[in-house]
């Protein structure tokens, strides 16, 4: 077995120094080493989107990225964007619209939705549906999620000059 590798990274603004096996993926690193269990594992091969996190500003499937690849990177998880208040309005819209049932897909769904809203401030329903197509939800049927993202976009647009 290959020896552990030292990595240094920022996770939710905290400096992390760790020693990890090269085969360890980022999802397992976050969950098992850092106990950030809000990042969920649904399929372990990059299809379901439950493990979506942000690395240097871009959303990635943390099950498809190795922990060693995050050396010197800035990683943000659902815990980070919740505590910072960055997605408080999106979370509020999800709550009001009951856009989650079991909640297992929700952290990844919120990360993907926030990514869309940052790229495209006023997406229509089709755009929202297309952007979230990589995030599976087995409970809601998606309509409530689309509604919540649409509402958030409108509210944010209203706030802007």
């Amino acid at each position: 077995m290959t020896a552990a590798v030292a990595i240094s990274l920022s996770v939710n603004g905290e400096r992390i120094e760790a020693s990890v096996l090269p085969r360890l993926n980022l999802a397992d690193f976050l969950r098992e080493h850092l106990k950030l269990t809000g990042t969920h594992i649904g399929c372990e091969h990059g299809v379901c989107g439950a493990c979506t996190v942000r690395v240097d500003g871009d959303i990635v499937r943390s099950c498809l990225m190795l922990a060693v690849q995050t050396h010197n990177a800035k990683v943000e998880t659902i815990e980070g964007v919740s505590d910072s208040g960055e997605i408080a309005d999106l979370q509020s819209a999800f709550r009001e619209r009951n856009a989650l049932q079991c909640g297992f897909c929700t952290p990844g769904m919120l990360m993907a939705a926030q990514d869309l809203l940052q790229q495209s401030p006023t997406p229509d329903r089709e755009e929202i549906r297309a952007h979230l197509s990589g995030n599976y939800c087995r409970c809601t049927g998606y309509q409530a999620i689309v509604d919540a993202v649409e509402t958030t976009a409108r509210v944010r647009a209203g706030r802007l000059p």
Binding site: N98, Y136, G141
Partner: protein
């Protein structure tokens, strides 16, 4: 909403000031899930916890001639490698039969296979290590010597004398057969103007809960107690079964169910690998964790449907349906699942076919056969999608044959809304359904005539759109008739304990469970409404056999109807008790007092008299100031089970509007409508979202989802990339409407809503596809409706 029945007087307990009943309020505790602060079983870690990985059979059917674990045992971090025979010293085998399913047979099943593996994916050895990665590494070094046996894969061949018999002791591969004959079927067909036959084929599919099945079992030998952390819909059932097979008393087993990442019936069963995990913890005297990976989920989570059903309908030229006949065949894998059995789905198909319609002439045969594939069992809307697709498919074929509009033939044959109570041709009793009110509402919601006009004008441009209608009935609020009468220790009653704490807040313990439906919310809404306190003062505790009353849990659309009624009755008692104490303190009488907005008030003028917090302070800390002889009881418990009707049937109707691309075979869903009747609606938003989620699971079955096995019993698409589930981009918006016919079995009047969407979605889509393809003279009666199926039917490939 249309009320087809007057609200009974007894509902007054719910019709109080500031009632939450019938109101959309956000579910409590969603923030936890949205902030990544939930606690799913896969998140749980305990001191000294070990991880188990199972070595699974690569063959559909094989003798296990030997297992060499010597290399695996030497691998880093390995704690134990355990065979089925070794594990059988701590856990006994089981047989998945119930006495009310007459003739149902199955063979003893072990937690880990001994001597023989019967499906690809059955566990043959367990590797326990300090980490999952270490256990996986070691599992690869377990060497199993197999001798492949003939596999029975095609259910049609399973009953042939030439077929191998999977369990020799059973004599053949027939697990269960049910025959039903009501009315005068042959005469009815003879007197029909047209008799139409078709064979309906349903793909085997599965639930794909986003969180795979997971268990942490913690045997503490010093306490002689096993704590099981499991995402289950039925904690007390798990407690009973684990105790039974580990030789423990139920009091020695605690089942804790925190957040559950999707369930849909997948997590209402007890799987062999879960039993093995409990047993491994007992054997190794430490906590053991099992989390299925996605390949294991596909190979071992129960599959469902996989029916081939021949159907026949008779119709007169005036549109009267004269009779239904079906011959259903389903393959359930090598064992009947435990403890609910795998005969329930076929049994439900027999029960439900023809259910919405007037005709009493009905003949049915259902056969359930063993095969060397993964086990099949109950998944959301058990049997309903089969029965609904067959019934509604036949009704549309009859309508097409005699040239009657699909809405019109239903109007002529659906049971009249004023004909209740009555019974179905299979003998099921209906208390009050509303098929006609629902259909009328649906036709209005979708603007049926306008859609027909649009369809017609599009056809002229070679765009092929279709409308599909599907009426359905749904089994909800099951009594002991479902499992208890067959000998299963699965409770049909539920209990709720509710108490006022020392600051005037309310703690409510309920035996129903939460998997995202909103059990917690509906319980808090009922308690808050009946008691007169705000919902933020109600804390609901569920999912813990040590800390809730005994009960069935949340499955078969029973949480709101049964658990909700128990909450209502318990809270009424608590309210009376509080008012008795208040009367003593205030030198008044209980009838002159009420509780509104967290305070006791005078009924006459609504004047606040004493805050509940102050009342609680006096009761708990200054009982010496109460009049002599007063013993306050600020906790009340009530249980409920339906007794009058075995099931509270609901009904509804769905419609699909879609477009078929005849060049590619792709189906584009444009819109979907549902009108359903679940009785009293506690939270409209939660009901609508249950309907929508259920519809989308039905749409998955209609268009995408299928476990594809090859002829050797190998599952060829056991991953999320190859097994397709609905994605947001493909799903339509779904409009939901309601008719409200409360059940009079309970004061609450609520029936179930969780499965209605799944029951009728595929039937609506299939009928819509056939409607779209009408100009081509082709009929498709197979799901999923993949491009291949559609292009084949069109003769293009």
């Amino acid at each position: 909403m249309t009320s087809v029945q007057p609200i009974p007087e007894a509902l007054s307990a719910l019709d109080r000031p500031n009632s939450y009943i019938g109101k959309t309020v956000p579910r409590p505790n969603l923030d936890r899930l949205m902030q990544g602060r939930g606690l799913y079983v896969s998140d749980i870690e305990l001191p000294r916890m070990a991880h188990v990985v199972f070595v699974r059979s690569p063959h559909a059917h094989a003798t296990i001639n030997g297992i060499d674990v010597s290399t695996a045992r030497q691998m880093p971090g390995v704690i134990a490698v355990v065979s089925g025979r070794e594990l059988s010293t701590v856990i006994t085998p089981w047989v998945g039969v119930l006495s009310h399913l007459k003739g149902l047979k199955s063979a003893p099943q072990n937690a880990i296979a001994i001597d023989r593996a019967c499906w690809q994916g059955e566990a043959v050895a367990a590797v326990v290590a300090n980490s999952r990665a270490q256990a996986e590494d070691a599992a690869e070094r377990v060497s199993v010597e197999y001798q492949e046996l003939d596999a029975v894969t095609d259910m049609r061949a399973a009953l042939s004398p030439a077929s191998a018999v999977i369990h020799a002791s059973l004599g053949d591969n027939l697990a269960f057969e049910r025959n039903h004959d009501a009315g005068a079927v042959d005469q009815a067909f003879a007197e029909s103007d047209e008799v139409i036959e078709a064979e309906f084929i349903f793909g085997r599919h599965t639930g794909v809960t986003l969180e795979p099945r997971a268990v942490v079992a913690d045997w503490n030998p010093a306490e002689a107690r096993l704590t099981i952390y499991q995402g289950t819909q039925a904690p007390h059932m798990v407690q009973n079964i684990a105790a039974l097979h580990l030789g423990l008393k139920e009091s020695q087993v605690r089942v804790v169910c925190k957040d559950v990442g999707g369930s849909f019936g997948i997590k209402v069963h007890i799987y062999a690998d879960e039993m093995a995990t409990y047993a491994l913890s007992k054997l190794l005297r430490r906590p053991v964790k099992f989390v299925a990976d996605r390949v294991e989920s596909f190979n071992t989570d129960i599959h469902a449907r996989d029916h081939r059903c021949k159907g026949k309908i008779g119709v007169k030229r005036d549109g009267t349906i004269t009779a239904f006949e079906i011959d259903d065949l389903t393959g359930i894998g090598p064992y009947s699942m435990y403890p609910r059995t795998s005969a329930i789905e076929a049994n439900q198909v027999v029960n439900l076919v023809g259910g919405p319609y007037v005709t009493r002439n009905y003949r049915a045969r259902a056969r359930v056969v063993f095969q060397n594939k993964n086990v099949m069992c109950q998944y959301r809307a058990v049997g309903h999608p089969i029965a609904c697709s067959v019934t509604e498919g036949l009704v549309d074929l009859a309508a097409m044959k005699i040239g009657v509009d699909p809405v019109e033939i239903r109007r002529r044959n659906l049971i009249a809304d004023d004909a209740y109570p009555c019974a179905s041709p299979s003998g099921l009793r209906f208390e009050q359904l509303s098929h006609h009110a629902a259909l009328t509402k649906l036709v209005r919601m979708m603007d049926y005539e306008a859609l027909r006009a649009e369809q017609s004008s599009m056809r002229a441009r070679n765009i092929h759109r279709g409308i599909g209608i599907a009426s359905f009935i749904e089994v909800t609020n099951p009594s002991a008739a479902f499992y208890g009468v067959g000998g299963a220790k699965i409770s049909s009653q539920d209990g709720v304990a509710v108490r006022l704490d020392a600051q005037g807040s309310v703690i409510c313990q309920t035996s129903i469970t939460e998997q995202g439906q909103g059990s917690e919310s509906l319980t808090a809404q009922i308690v808050g409404s009946v008691l007169g306190v705000s919902m933020d003062r109600v804390r609901v505790i569920l999912g813990d056999t040590d800390n809730t009353p005994y009960g069935g849990g949340t499955w078969a659309s029973r949480g709101a109807g049964i658990g909700g009624e128990a909450a209502l009755q318990a809270t009424k008692v608590l309210r009376r008790n509080i008012l008795d104490v208040a009367a003593a303190i205030l030198q008044s009488t209980a009838v002159e007092l009420d509780i509104v907005n967290n305070a006791v008030v005078t009924v006459a003028d609504g004047a606040p008299r004493i805050e509940l917090s102050e009342l609680a302070r006096i009761v708990y800390f200054r009982p010496d100031t109460l009049p002599p002889g007063i013993q306050p009881e600020l906790m009340a418990t009530r249980h409920f089970v339906p007794r009058e009707y075995p099931f509270a049937f609901t009904n509804g109707v769905q419609a699909s509007w879609l477009e078929v691309d005849i060049e590619t075979g792709f189906v584009k869903l444009l819109k979907h409508w549902v009108v359903e009747d679940c009785g009293t609606i506690i939270n409209p938003q939660l009901v609508d979202e249950q309907i929508r989620g259920g519809v989308v699971q039905g749409l998955g079955a209609a268009l995408f989802e299928k476990c594809v096995y090859d002829e050797r019993g190998q599952l060829t698409n056991a991953n999320m990339a190859d097994y397709l589930v609905p994605m947001s981009g493909e799903m339509p918006d779904i409009d939901v409407g309601h008719v409200v016919s409360p059940t009079l079995e309970s004061e609450l009047g609520a029936k179930g809503a969780g499965e209605a969407g799944t029951a009728g979605a595929a039937a609506a889509v299939t009928n819509a596809v056939n409607d779209a393809l009408k100009p081509f003279g082709t009929i498709i009666t197979e799901i999923p409706l993949t491009p291949q199926v559609i292009l084949t039917a069109l003769g293009r490939i």
